[in-house]
Subunit: 488 residues, 2 copies
Amino acid sequence: LVICDHSFFSTKTKQQEIVLSFKQGKYFNKGVGTRDYNPKQMAIREKVFNTIISCFKRHGAETIDTPVFELKETLTGKYGEDSKLIYDLKDQGGELLSLRYDLTVPFARYLAMNKITNIKRYHIAKVYRRDNPAMTRGRYREFYQCDFDIAGQYDAMIPDAECLKIVYEILSQLDLGDFRIKVNDRRILDGMFAVCGVPDDKFRTICSTVDKLDKMPWEDVKKEMVNEKGLSEEAADQIGEYVSMQGGMDLAERLLQDQKMSQSKQACAGLSDIKLLFSYLQLFQVTDKVVFDLSLARGLDYYTGIIYEAVLSQAGVAPVSTEAQNGPPGEESVSVGSVAGGGRYDGLVGMFDPKGRKVPCVGVSIGIERIFSIMEQKAEASAEKVRTTEVQVMVASAQKNLLEERLKLVTELWNAGIKAEVMYKKNPKLLSQLQHCEESGIPLVAILGEQELKDGVVKLRVVATREEVDICRADLIEEVRRRTSDAS
Amino acid sequence: LVICDHSFFSTKTKQQEIVLSFKQGKYFNKGVGTRDYNPKQMAIREKVFNTIISCFKRHGAETIDTPVFELKETLTGKYGEDSKLIYDLKDQGGELLSLRYDLTVPFARYLAMNKITNIKRYHIAKVYRRDNPAMTRGRYREFYQCDFDIAGQYDAMIPDAECLKIVYEILSQLDLGDFRIKVNDRRILDGMFAVCGVPDDKFRTICSTVDKLDKMPWEDVKKEMVNEKGLSEEAADQIGEYVSMQGGMDLAERLLQDQKMSQSKQACAGLSDIKLLFSYLQLFQVTDKVVFDLSLARGLDYYTGIIYEAVLSQAGVAPVSTEAQNGPPGEESVSVGSVAGGGRYDGLVGMFDPKGRKVPCVGVSIGIERIFSIMEQKAEASAEKVRTTEVQVMVASAQKNLLEERLKLVTELWNAGIKAEVMYKKNPKLLSQLQHCEESGIPLVAILGEQELKDGVVKLRVVATREEVDICRADLIEEVRRRTSDAS
């Protein structure tokens, strides 16, 4: 039993097999499509979260939290074809509930429900997807999203530019290697489809095919357009020309002059906004990583304007095993190395308001699971040991019958706010106490013995150097603080 | 539609009513039995979590995380009668899953699965209960638990005493008013039942009745024992005598001499451990709040030794409205003012090990939802405003056409790690920029104008005092840091 193809076994036999494999203590989580985080993974996770949260706070975001489940109806009709991946709760009496699929729809529901017309908020929480077996390999069904969104009626492209600035800051600070942020606009895509002769009712499905360009060569994408989606070869070729274009503000300017493209009002509106966006990005000093890329086509229905996605350059990414490829990076499907995504969705809040009042929104979702994987690999590769606790000092003794004295001393330390441990044994061996320090990276040991008690001192041992020095008991707390000031 | 009696309406009509009320933007969450946290509540929540987490870290705990759902089978048979409150996921193909009911059972599953024989870990996460309508009033179906557990084969009562020390530290630091920690032992309860003549097969059900003593007078408890549970009046009276006893180490010593009680080996083992526990609690300096209370009888099946529960003294608790009474405090039912609970469960891990290998465990769960409520009430009552962001400075301007200059300056500040905001308008009014600062507690405003730009300065305004001073642009970052050093 390796990673299970979930939806394909609902027979009793297969379930028994999982329960069996669980009882053998193996693969349990793989079977369920989720994972536990062990203390080492949690230490890395905490570090990543701290970087992300301080960035969100630096930009003045508040935070909210919403329940893990929503009314099923709240999620219906928001995710297009992917709706089949929503986890429903069993009908045990009461209303029908589903596990949240992302944080964007609950956010929109929250805004509408509380009649909030402007807010800048972040939300870090787990979301749930019953991932398609074919896609399941290596993906988790429970994974974190870190979302930052700005809701409110503001002047064009200012909040949008800040979202990109935030992606830039986070990816730089996490030190994941080189990256690019691709930018496009839903209106440019739609305008492009229109001027290339795609029938109106095929915009969405052709858009989904364009979305595969980061995983498939153009030839295959074209084949899908023509053979499966019934597009004319001519239209496909015209699209092919546009979606190969990449650039900056200059490209937007050129396309505004483009004979065909300029015929679409929608496209022109999008292109003007791209120009404006780039002018703000220059002020934010992030244009070195941002590319206007006409092949970017994020799948979700609710985007209405600018869209973006950050990808790590292959050079910067360690080879990711199937196992380590976790949840989606942003709100939808993954391209290799994709670590953040988002865009503008001006219509979503209105879907939850009884009077349809719109609240314009733009946001970004950081693909944290992939970042965890990369950080974990880096930690594995590095010589530096990941500490899973922050203990500053271990209270130990070399002699028997000193449990009470150890408990007294550790109490003094705790009461002074020092992170301290004591072994839960009456008479632990000194060696096992020192070994525990080595293993868990505790830098100091406060050793008590008959002589030390008599002299009113504590023998302070530096684990790394084995240096030992007698410290007057009254000075111990200050000394521990002084020696561990960066760890505390 | 007030708080809904969940299990009693599964008809289409009632569902429509909820959806309707949701569309009206009201009571949505009450209907589902969950709640959103707004930014103010989140700010309070963050503060409480920080206090609790630093205590857990001070005691050397690592942290782990487990998925929100487990195999249904993992939860089966662990919660006695309360199993009916477990939320199941819909069978959409694949194995049967349930939302976790507490963090203790997933912890035990994690230990067995990974063959971990000793660990000190904390886990803060949400758990789920389809609470019984009669109990639902004011309870949430999604709520946080903050668990600290010590697993491992150690000398008696040392880890147990540390759990109580932790409860003591957290409740003291949160400043919730006076509290007591009641302690008892499952073995003392069982021994007491035996010597009072309760038949073996009635221990659990009589124990559940004793558990109601914090909500019902003894007369009613006795009636339930005699009339509903079929206990003899004599046996009930004998129990009544014991469960009225409270004390410290002295009470344990007296009961060890008690003619009847001393006949039970189990009770004697429990009483000796209580004595030992109190000796460690003295060294930990927490005996002033700990009471050995024979009426304490926590309901969960898995406890095997010491049990405890912390209650706030009524004086310390503001009157809690029905609305504010949130999730259970510990792992089971609430008594008024109960904010933490736990105990020893030496058999649970073995239930998940294929060879039944036991890992002794003791732990405590902090009833965080109730603590949130109290902190929220305190915040409401206090004159001090709760800030929901940490923004140090707002970049503003009094004149038109300075958007670019504002964006440049805010970029300088962000890049230097200053928490800063700028309004997303081309030409915002100075008044509205200042108002935003007043409302969200931003202490400083950096004002740009033509003159300032010419002079190479920024006008720094202190929001509280309206004092304004010109700062050389090169010194602005240092000046902002200096003036907001406690806020950053």
